[in-house]
């Protein structure tokens, strides 16, 4: 009775190894998602976020990465980020990634989407994620900012490219509200009309031969002109690098950055 159990265990072990191997091949999965060179996170935050990032990366087929630094050595944060990613991708063969870079020295942060994340987290969606993480950055909650980045980007990337994921028309509460209001309106009208409807109108008793305008005038009086400037899309912290770009290594990305 023991032998079959051992056989089954061996088979499961073999399958697991196979799955891990194929998994690695398919997603080029890295075991590290957080490169906290500036030491902004505590050890427990890092281990929590590593686990969370690994889980979401597996689900999305896109690596969620965090890079922090004290200094970009005088380079623009976009170039610094690009060099880092070129390096990492060359080493690991990584293709799809969402990378949040925090330069604590220059007090700037930049979010970029590489590979399929370039379309699935396009420039508009990057700006929406930035809007959501800016408050965390301002308060120094860097772990919270990264968690929010993963959570929101993960959610947005489920939507078809080009669609605004925050559009009211895609929200469940909106669907529920419309359904309830419509049902209430129709059934209310049915109830109201159940005792018979008033079908006379303004036209029923009018005597068209003798109802008419006898004097009318429409005189121009005055004119007012108001001008309103369209507010620039820049948020308070000041945005830059919107629209993404290309790394030194020739990898194009979607992206946007903010100061804090």
């Amino acid at each position: 009775m023991r032998k079959p159990v051992i056989k089954v265990s061996a088979l499961i072990l073999l399958l697991t190894i196979l799955m891990m191997l194929t998994g690695t091949a398919a997603f080029a999965q890295t075991d590290q998602h957080i490169y906290d060179q500036a030491g902004l996170l505590t050890d427990s935050e890092i281990s929590d976020l590593e686990a969370y990032a690994a889980e979401k990366s597996r689900e999305q087929g896109t690596e969620f990465l965090l890079l922090t630094t004290d200094s970009t050595s005088g380079m623009p944060i976009i170039d610094y980020m690009g060099d880092f990613y070129d390096n990492l991708a060359d080493q690991t063969g990584m293709e799809n990634a969402v990378l949040l870079t925090i330069d604590i020295g220059g007090r700037e942060f930049y979010l970029a989407g590489f590979g399929n994340a370039k379309t699935r987290l396009d420039n508009e969606r990057v700006e929406m994620v930035l809007d959501r993480i800016t408050p965390y950055m301002a308060q120094g909650q860097y772990a919270g900012a990264f968690r929010e980045t993963i959570e929101t980007a993960d959610r947005y990337m489920e939507y078809k490219p080009g669609v605004n994921p925050e559009s009211i028309f895609l929200q469940t509460w909106f669907h529920a509200a419309v359904a309830l209001i419509l049902a209430g309106g129709i059934v209310g009208t049915m109830l109201y009309n159940s005792g018979g409807r008033n079908t006379t109108t303004a036209a029923t008793y009018i005597d068209r031969d003798h109802t008419r305008v006898t004097r009318d005038s429409d005189r121009f009086r005055n004119k007012t002109v108001t001008r309103r400037r369209i507010p620039k899309n820049n948020n308070s912290g000041g945005g830059f690098g919107g629209g993404g770009g290309m790394t030194g290594g020739g990898r194009s990305f979607s992206g946007g950055g903010r100061s804090f």
Partner: protein, 342 residues
């Protein structure tokens, strides 16, 4: 019926003076040509022995009919009625719309109506619990109304366009002025106290092409209610009925503006002709779950009004059905567009 010519000066009954061939007033001496005598001053009254009046001791209804018709029960409450009087000298109706829907047709039309009740309980929809159906003529006053409206308003026309990163809104203001002649013909108001005004309003409209000069035989076999309110008492009701009509007509004469705000609106409406008229109504008494429900049917068009019982289950089912299917449809659309279900 007896025709009375009311003196336009003093309201006395004028008499026909054979020597002059004119109508002359015994009170003030005014003389009028009978051919050109104003119609609104001619009144018909019941002649002796021509009409009878019944009283209902249960609900107090006063009913009248022609001499040959014998009434036994009240058309409102079904209680026995007692003969009160032979009517003489009472104002007779000037116009009538005769019944065009017979009792059998009325029963069939009512049954059909109960089947359309989407919110009524299943048992009600069989339409086979008609307890009683009585045809009666309900007294109405029909008013010919003319008047004038004078309105002043400020209208705006707005134009919005973009120039560079600036949105420019140009608003032109206009002084709008209208003087309007108003005329409404034969606007009805029911003169019966017992009849629910809202119910009677919903029975409208009647087709006035069938409006006939009143003759006694129209009453044969039918009861008519006697009017409780005279023409002056009801005019305010008719006024409140036509004010929304007038407002909407005024609105239709001012077009092409983005916004309109009235600075002055004066409406003056007067009745210049009134017709005492009988409209045909079938009263339907329907038993359902030990309760009697009363409905009224337009005896000319078959339109049914009255509050039917409502099934809470059906209301809930309709509500849920519409809400769920709308929700599902919106979800499906948003899935097609956005690629995400939740």
């Amino acid at each position: 019926m007896v025709t009375h010519y009311k003196c336009p000066n003093c309201g006395s009954d004028m008499a026909f003076d054979a020597t002059s061939g004119m109508l002359s007033c015994p009170n003030c001496g005014r003389q009028d040509d009978i051919e050109t005598f104003p119609e609104e001053n001619i009144q018909q009254k019941f002649a002796p022995e021509e009409a009878k009046e019944y009283h209902c001791e249960n609900c107090g209804a006063v009913l009248l009919t022609e001499a040959e018709t014998t009434a036994t029960h009240c058309s409102f409450c079904g209680a026995p009625v007692v003969l009160a009087d032979r009517l003489t000298g009472d104002l007779a109706p000037a116009k009538v719309i005769p019944f065009t829907i017979s009792k059998d047709e009325a029963v069939a039309a009512f049954r059909k109506w109960t089947k359309n009740g989407r919110l009524t309980p299943r048992g009600f929809m069989n339409g086979d619990r008609i307890k009683k159906m009585t045809g009666m003529y309900v007294p109405f006053w029909l008013y010919d109304i003319n008047g004038k409206a004078e309105v002043a308003a400020i209208g705006t026309r707005m134009r919005t366009y973009q120039q560079g990163d600036t949105v420019i809104t140009e608003t032109d203001f206009y002084d709008v002025y209208r003087e309007i002649d108003l005329s409404y013909l034969k606007v009805p108001a029911d003169a019966s106290e017992k009849m629910d005004d809202e119910l009677m309003d919903k029975l409208e409209p009647y087709d006035y092409s069938d409006l006939k000069d009143f003759r006694m035989p129209y009453l044969a076999g039918f009861l008519a209610e006697k009017y409780d309110f005279d023409e002056d008492a009801l005019f305010s009701r008719v006024e409140s009925k036509i004010v929304p009509y007038i407002d909407s007509y005024i609105g239709s004469t001012i077009s092409g503006y983005s916004t309109i705000s009235y600075t002055n609106k004066q409406i003056n409406a007067n009745k210049y002709k009134v017709y005492y008229t009988l409209f045909p109504v079938w009263m339907v008494y329907y038993d359902f779950e030990n309760k009697e429900h009363t409905f009224a049917m337009n005896g000319q068009t078959g339109k049914v009004v009255g509050k039917p019982p409502i099934s809470g289950g059906k209301v809930a089912a309709w509500f849920t059905g519409i809400a769920v299917s709308t929700f599902a449809a919106l979800k499906a659309i948003s899935y097609l567009v956005g690629g995400v279900l939740w």
